[in-house]
Subunit: 523 residues, 2 copies
Amino acid sequence: MTITGLALIGGVGERGNDGFFKAYDPAALAPLEPCFHMVDAAQIDRACELAGAAFDQFRNTSDEQRALFLDTIAEQIIGIGDALIERAMLESGLPRARLEGERGRTVGQLRLFAGLLREGSWRDVRIDSALPDRVPPRPDMRMRLIGIGPVAVFAASNFPLAFSVAGGDTASAFAAGCPVVLKAHSAHPGTSELVARAVVRALEICGLPAGVFALLTGTGNGIGQALVAHPAIQAVGFTGSRSGGQALMAVAAARPQPIPVYAEMSSINPVFLLPRALEQRGEEIGAGFAASLTMGVGQFCTNPGLVLAVDGAPFERFCSSAAAALGASQAATMLTPGIAASYQRGVALLAAHQSVATLAQAGHAEGKGGAALFRTSGAAFLAQHELHGEVFGPASLLVACKDATEMCQVAECLEGQLTATIQMDDGDIDQARRLLTTLERKVGRILVNGFPTGVEVSTAMVHGGPFPATSDGRSTSVGTGAINRFLRPVCYQNMPQALLPESLRDPNPAGIWRRRDGALGKE
Amino acid sequence: MTITGLALIGGVGERGNDGFFKAYDPAALAPLEPCFHMVDAAQIDRACELAGAAFDQFRNTSDEQRALFLDTIAEQIIGIGDALIERAMLESGLPRARLEGERGRTVGQLRLFAGLLREGSWRDVRIDSALPDRVPPRPDMRMRLIGIGPVAVFAASNFPLAFSVAGGDTASAFAAGCPVVLKAHSAHPGTSELVARAVVRALEICGLPAGVFALLTGTGNGIGQALVAHPAIQAVGFTGSRSGGQALMAVAAARPQPIPVYAEMSSINPVFLLPRALEQRGEEIGAGFAASLTMGVGQFCTNPGLVLAVDGAPFERFCSSAAAALGASQAATMLTPGIAASYQRGVALLAAHQSVATLAQAGHAEGKGGAALFRTSGAAFLAQHELHGEVFGPASLLVACKDATEMCQVAECLEGQLTATIQMDDGDIDQARRLLTTLERKVGRILVNGFPTGVEVSTAMVHGGPFPATSDGRSTSVGTGAINRFLRPVCYQNMPQALLPESLRDPNPAGIWRRRDGALGKE
């Protein structure tokens, strides 16, 4: 499949009218062919209008039709073959095994949502029977969730497949019956085009309207702001920087009709090392931590950027073990030269900070990031908010607390996070319980004796958390719960059976879980 | 029970430090004793701090404990006896039967949420079993919803009991485990104090921390803005005007940590009269419509402020029937002189509008609003946005469309609404289906052959709708679904059973519905 550099609007490749850019090979430090043409305001407008026009037909497809559509996208992505992996490797600098795994995850996500549609309980159907003899009589009332409307999705830099064109945001929006206008990430436009054409092909195969999906290419902030401001767009999915997410939140809030923004933005994912665990397994934990920190050159939202423990000999053993592993690691190619430069700046700022000691620092190189490990005290961390920010890449800050109480104070002063991790043994349970009460308020996922990198795509996953981890701590962007972001409830009162959607009709023709007069059942 | 005019902070009556105001009898047009002392910034701050400090203990109570608390509030409200109804009558001008009914509804709401807590599925528990043999192994993951944090609730003017101190916002927040800092409505501060003391008494009886609830008294915008801006507050419930709701949305979005606002604001609740129904029952529908419009002096969020039909003889019969009923109606006392004055201004503007004819207008009087019925054309309505606004009170605008297509165009140009109503007979089903597709995108509840006033408190109710009906069209403020506004998900990965909350433990000790590996059950 040739990469054309065209946007895809209304199912047709279309040359952008606003200049062009090229993808970049971060390993070879060289631009890649071909040119990608950037869409202008009129093209953004048209993509959004088509999405709005396609919404009613798309949301009124049967759940089975949308399930088949998701399955077909998965097949079409697999059908691209190795060309997809090769282009993604070129554009991201990520290794083959990682990208093959990510493709599997992407396809698995699409199929997971297809399964969710077939199971049916995602509609949250509720039926309150009429009570004609009550005074006043109670009408028949039936509720279901429906799609919120066209969704603007912003692809992430760090997952060119799983958080991109046909990633979790797109899959969950499609499942909900929402068209998607996708802003490709400028770091992997060729990968994006290949996947986008798989989506367009799936629309054709399934006989669905072309307006259900568009791929917009461009760089800079203007395209995203125009997209979020467009009246046809009813929700936003975004994975990226805090500044980028907050800019979109501001645009969405300033619209004549404000819309929800689901932005996954910033997290330092604290790891708490409790005393017994540290004593028993300090060195082992240090080695596991170093492996988690450097996986994928630290370019994960769930990278463990902060470690907390009570100071003392066991903590020193952890520090030595982690520092030895990280000091011996090699700098590796980061996703883009911009990310590498930003990482190197962040590391330099920490290294120069008066309250911070450097424990290990692998050398950098152009476009490459080396692991870095820093240390500070609980008191310094509590007093200096600039130590709380995310440094995107394989850097982490160890905080030596004077006692368990100070460790709890540090937990309490943290901003919202995607994850928190507790390393503990049986004897640590009381302290873990104390921490847990604070962490439940601060984070979306709490792990015991693992590391936060590695995000399962499943039913119980929460990949979200209080601000600024995400713009909306009521949501998850990974797992089946992600569909809830793009749904809203509609109640039908005294509606004739012939007018009701199938999921609300008697006698439950789809055989799905429904809540009748408060009780769940499949009657 | 004597009314003291004190705020309630930390369970103790406390004199506000920022001046005072008096309640007002809108029927007698006279102020009421005693003085209510307005809280200052330090008192608002203290109430919020106490709510924040009480959150962990309150959210970690058992569901049964919170259910008992809700039941106890209900008992305590009943225990106030007739003093509550009499004060509410004085402050609101509403008749005894309405307020007794509203008290029943308020108590019923509290008990509904108690039942929801006992049933348990509101936690949306999800368990994904560990797969130790998978490569890589899948960890054990368990998800539940928890309370979002302290909630600021703003009482409404038009329901001094059911959307006030212990109304739906407060009941659903308490059920979720969230403390409430309540801003009393200045139109019924005495009623508010009586109910607030019932809540405080219930906290004492149940042995719950006093910080779980505070009553703040005051007038003006400052108190509300300070409340929403306070860092301890994590969500907002509001029922009131569009300008008031949007002001709070702006404060919430501008916080260092933005928070969700659930503001129920503005709706004109269109009623569509389809041809067969109009032909068969035009006069009957006209009479029913007039009764719905004037119920409670039109002071309902779901008042039918807009009626659409195709022009012709059947529509004329509807108009005559409605105009006759409304013209013969008497002006009645509105909730406050301010609401009456605003209503009279709104009616005068419509009466003077060049595209609007007056079909009926009962005379006003000081503090009283008379019903008013206006008529315009579909073309004029489509062209003039000032005709789309809400006039809070017993006024409605009839729109004579030239054909069914124009009626659909009018539906398409409407802003978000709480409700839409279709009056139809069997022969109207095709046109109803066409309208339904549009209305599902525009409103939260669609009724057939009824009137929108009268909002059931049940499982399937949606009292919400796309902006500007509410600030967040994903929500309902009435019915069990209201609890979802104040919840967020937390995932526990590989957590020892001893640390897990009861609802997530094996083997389901609470016997609640849970989703295990995707399948619902009570295993």
